[in-house]
């Protein structure tokens, strides 16, 4: 199977605030792994640390067997990690097409047309709107654009931070279907969600984060049935 990502004992601080207190987990090739937890648990911070926007004081992060804990963020993308951040953070003033071009910033030129076609295949809505200013897209379309943008760099590991945030239930279903399709097509996925039910239903494995620590882990099914998770995250 092979491990794609190994996070070992990371500690992350915002000034004096100790946000991540010794988290370890791993993601294997072909899996969907999800991190669930309440507001402020440290899920986004963990993803930011993997993608290099934040640094851990301790431990190590290995991607495809080499350490990336000291690699600058802009170099991590070309190694094969794509991060769709919380709140999407598409380039609002650019067109859909320009956003996708930005996603291909480090992609080999001969792969770009191919990847663009793949993205439009996954998100036909985007193809109809190539010249539209991204800031004028609906929330669901913006999420699709953020995901499409991340796919433009041929990621081996796609990290999604709350892709369902603020979307109507029908769109949430759609986004999760796309996530599963991408996974079937070979992309390994690390998914952060507050919508624990959805996340656990698609995940191979899951970790529960509480105030900077991992408190539970197991397969998606196991966690969905565990009492603690049901009580805390699935509404009974």
């Amino acid at each position: 199977m092979g491990t794609v990502l190994t996070v070992r004992d990371i500690n992350v601080y915002y000034g004096a605030i100790h946000a991540i207190k010794g988290i370890s987990f791993d993601v294997n090739r072909g899996e969907i792994v999800t991190l669930i937890g309440a507001n402020g648990a440290g899920k986004s911070t963990t993803l930011h640390t993997v993608s290099g926007l934040l640094r851990s004081k301790t431990g190590d992060i290995e991607f495809l067997e080499s350490s990336i804990a000291r690699t600058p963020a802009h170099k991590i993308v070309s190694l094969g990690i794509s991060h769709v951040p919380e709140g999407r953070r598409i380039f609002q003033g650019m067109t859909v097409e320009e956003n996708l071009q930005m996603g291909a910033f480090v992609t080999k030129p001969d792969r770009i047309a191919n990847n663009l076609e793949y993205v439009y295949e996954q998100f036909p809505r985007l193809k109809e709107r190539t010249k539209q200013i991204a800031g004028t897209l609906s929330g669901g379309e913006q999420q699709m654009l953020a995901m499409g943008r991340a796919l433009m760099s041929d990621p081996r590991l796609l990290m999604l931070d709350e892709p369902s945030m603020g979307l109507a239930p029908i769109l949430v279903d759609q986004i999760f279907e796309i996530i599963q399709n991408l996974n079937k097509a070979g992309t390994t996925i690390l998914l952060v969600e507050q919508n624990a039910q959805m996340a656990l239903s698609v995940a191979d494995r899951a970790y529960v984060i509480e105030t900077g620590r991992i408190t539970l882990s197991g397969t998606g099914k196991e966690l969905a049935q565990s009492d603690e998770v049901r009580k805390a995250y699935l509404g009974g």
Binding site: M102, G103, V106, A150
Partner: protein, 295 residues
Amino acid sequence: MIFLSNLINGLSLGSVYAIIALGYSMVYGISKMLNFAHGDVIMVGAYISFCGTAYLGLPAWLALILAIVVCTALGMVIEGLAYRPLRGTGSLAVLITAIGVSYFLQNAALIIWGSAPKVFSSLFEGFGSSISLFDGELTVTWEAIFTLIAAILVMIGMTLFTSRTKAGKAMRAVSEDNGAAQLMGINVNTTISMTFAIGSALAAVAGVLLCSSYPALMPTTGAMPGIKAFTAAVFGGIGSIPGAMLGGILIGVIEILGRAYISSELSDAIVFGVLIIVLLVKPTGLLGKKMTEKV
């Protein structure tokens, strides 16, 4: 005719402001800092060009290129040495540093070139002094014409750069969301450095154009145009290329017309008065778009 002549002078001065404002605006857009030293880079550019022609005997165009090269390097050095180490710290520290860099450049110029004004010889000397129209009722200087043309070319060039080239789009991406840009694989440090380089190259051009029209060159020559250009950038909508252009031209025209028809002492006050009114009515400036702040 006098009005027309004033208007042309206003357009020409405004074109200089516009070129400076463009640099100010781009640098602000990408690093979210007010580079108060930007005006002083203009002054350095003018001195380098002056030295090129007066001491090295270079033709004016070559002296201009020398000034552009030196200022480009200067901009990158300032960014790398003074501002980059402070990135991520509070904006107050950066602001104070920028003021410090500004004084440093002025004082360095004072030591090197002294306080007595140098008489700058116009870049367009070779063209003769001016052209006369309407049986001599209206004279237009070559400086005014070329300054206006230069501003238009700069605007077209920068628009194409930011909309068509990969580096230009990276600049827009970093300006809009630094963190997201890094997640695309864009090297933010390189991109910011490039922006300072471009802004400073434009400042050199502006310095030479300014001193071609107003030939008294002193260590403080860049200070006031720097502030006016900053005003122009805010006036037009900071971060917007056409905004910087429009703001610059309008500030130049208001300043010259204000000086001619209202009061020469109050012309600067009029400029800032108009700025305040515009910002009260439209806080983002004339062409500024509302940008949501992202962390």
